[in-house]
């Protein structure tokens, strides 16, 4: 017990009796954690945006006029069972004609001549949950064209392709940036603590000369590193949560067509990961640097 009390008070002393160094380290840690939180949040936001965009990917299956209702329903059930599919809608011949007329009414470049009967086929409109499966899915069904049920398969047009390219870049890029940021943040924090410990190598040496074991020397430094990490995390999270409200508001105004918002569950995850990273890196950085001095 007393031992623990000693280690804690020694860590506190180390921090407070060297305020310039400790506060500079804490500030650096805060900034790196802010960056980390920022990218974690952006990455989540991007993933959500990618989800929204990808859910718009659609494939249309035209149904042979001679297909039986039971065949169509079986096809629908089969498609619905595919894990890449999020939703299937049946569009009757009448609905299709109505749509065409609506389009023609809105766009002057299509003029419908008098139509005898209904030349349009019925269709199944498939929304995919995973846009990257679109090609595989379309190809599979296209193989069935002419089999008596599916008359044709139409993929979404090229604009969606562009959307997908962008979202894919964003999401892969987001993960890459996140990984890079994580590495940079960790490294900078470790480096900062290493410099701070290095500046106190004389102290470490004296402690050893007076008979302190390695563990005895190491623990106060490790705790001090964790203290720096924790303080940094607390400051960073305070800033993040204070800024969250206004920023989300501004984003929602801005992103009317892509309404994304991250819930309280994410806030908790964010706080936990920032704190976890801070503690781990604070303790790890201090351990590494003290060890380097102890080994000698």
């Amino acid at each position: 017990m007393r031992r623990v009390a000693y280690v804690l008070s020694a860590a506190g002393q180390g921090f407070w009796r060297n305020p310039v160094m400790s506060l500079a380290s804490t500030f650096t840690v805060t900034l790196m954690l802010l960056l980390f939180a920022f990218f974690l949040t952006t990455d989540r936001g991007l993933q959500a945006a990618v989800g929204v965009l990808e859910s718009k990917v659609e494939i249309a299956l035209f149904i042979d006029d001679n297909a039986k209702v039971s065949e169509v329903l079986a096809l629908k059930a089969r498609i619905e069972a595919d894990p890449a599919v999020s939703r299937v809608d049946y569009v009757t011949k009448e609905q299709a004609l109505k749509r065409l007329q609506d389009i023609a009414d809105r766009r002057k470049d299509f003029v419908l001549a008098n139509i005898d009967g209904n030349p349009l086929p019925a269709s199944l409109e498939v929304k995919l949950s995973d846009a990257r499966q679109a090609k595989r899915f379309g190809d599979e069904l296209r193989a069935e064209v002419g089999g008596g049920v599916i008359a044709d398969v139409i993929d979404n047009p090229q604009v969606v392709d562009q959307l997908l390219t962008i979202t894919r870049v964003l999401s892969v890029g987001g993960v890459a940036i996140l990984a890079m940021m994580l590495f940079v943040a960790l490294f900078v924090i470790v480096n900062t603590i290493r410099i701070a410990v290095h500046a106190r190598r004389d102290e470490i040496e004296i402690m050893q000369l007076v008979g302190a074991s390695d563990a005895f020397v190491r623990w106060p430094f490790i705790l001090e590193g964790m203290l720096v990490g924790t303080l940094g995390a607390v400051v960073a999270l305070s800033i993040v949560f204070a800024a969250a409200g206004p920023v989300t508001g501004a984003m929602l105004d801005f992103l009317v067509t892509l309404p994304i918002s991250l819930g309280p569950e994410f806030a908790f995850q964010l706080a936990a990961s920032v704190l976890g990273v801070a503690l781990l890196v604070g303790a790890g950085g201090a351990t590494l640097s003290v060890r380097a001095h102890l080994a000698k």
Partner: protein
């Protein structure tokens, strides 16, 4: 207690600080280490607590071969040996009392005992009034006395003092020497490197004289100069 067998020390930059030193110090001995500036006194002391490793030869302290000892046992050796360093080596961010208490805390002592023994050591060297000063707020002599208090606070079996009176006035010096003599009388082995001829000549204890790293004189009841 302490034995050096044919010990030489060559620093990485090529300086030979000790050459073929043979020395045997029995339990309870009181020995003065004398010699000109740069003769190798501090180096010899560093070898005893493995602050440095001998280049050749064997250093034995309390039955253990200091050079062959695994790193993980070094701190135990150092706890048995109280050292007053020539440059004090105080922890700059701890107060006088904390610096002295530190030597007790590292050995696992706790609470009231630490406080009591610390106060005892501080009053022995006359620093009770400075207990809450940081080293940078002390005079040279006060720093030296803090180092002395730290070295003796945990009643080590071996006490090594490297020039412990260099920053002290004669009166205080004599008080410290009387204190060390008393501690030696109680059985502690004492090694003291010093330039203080007056003290060496007055006490007439064993004198080991180093010159350019070699033992040139080793006398019972010796004088500072031959």
């Amino acid at each position: 207690m302490i034995a050096l067998d044919d010990v030489s020390k060559r620093y990485p930059n090529g300086t030979f600080a000790l050459r073929d030193v043979d020395l045997r110090i029995d339990s309870g001995d009181f020995i003065f280490l004398v010699g000109a500036s740069g003769a190798g006194k501090s180096t010899l002391i560093r070898l005893l607590i493995r602050e440095e490793l001998a280049t050749t030869g064997r250093v034995v302290v309390d039955g253990e071969d200091v050079g062959r000892m695994p790193r993980s046992r070094v701190h135990r050796l150092r706890r048995k040996v109280g050292v007053v360093f020539q440059d004090f080596k105080l922890l700059p961010r701890k107060t006088v009392a904390e610096n002295v208490a530190f030597a007790l805390i590292v050995t696992g002592h706790e609470g009231r005992l630490v406080r009591e023994e610390t106060e005892r050591a501080l009053s022995l060297v006359g620093l009770t009034a400075r207990r809450d000063h940081f080293p940078s707020q002390l005079s040279g002599g006060e720093q030296q006395r803090t180092a002395i208090a730290r070295a003796l606070v945990n009643r080590p079996r071996i006490l090594i003092a490297d020039e412990p009176t260099g920053n002290l006035d004669p009166v205080t010096s004599w008080e410290i020497i009387k204190l060390l003599t008393r501690i030696n009388d109680l059985g502690t082995t004492l090694v003291m490197a010093t330039h203080n001829a007056e003290i060496v000549n007055a006490l007439r204890r064993r004198v080991v004289h180093l010159d350019h790293g070699m033992v040139v004189r080793d006398e019972r009841e010796g004088l500072y100069a031959a």
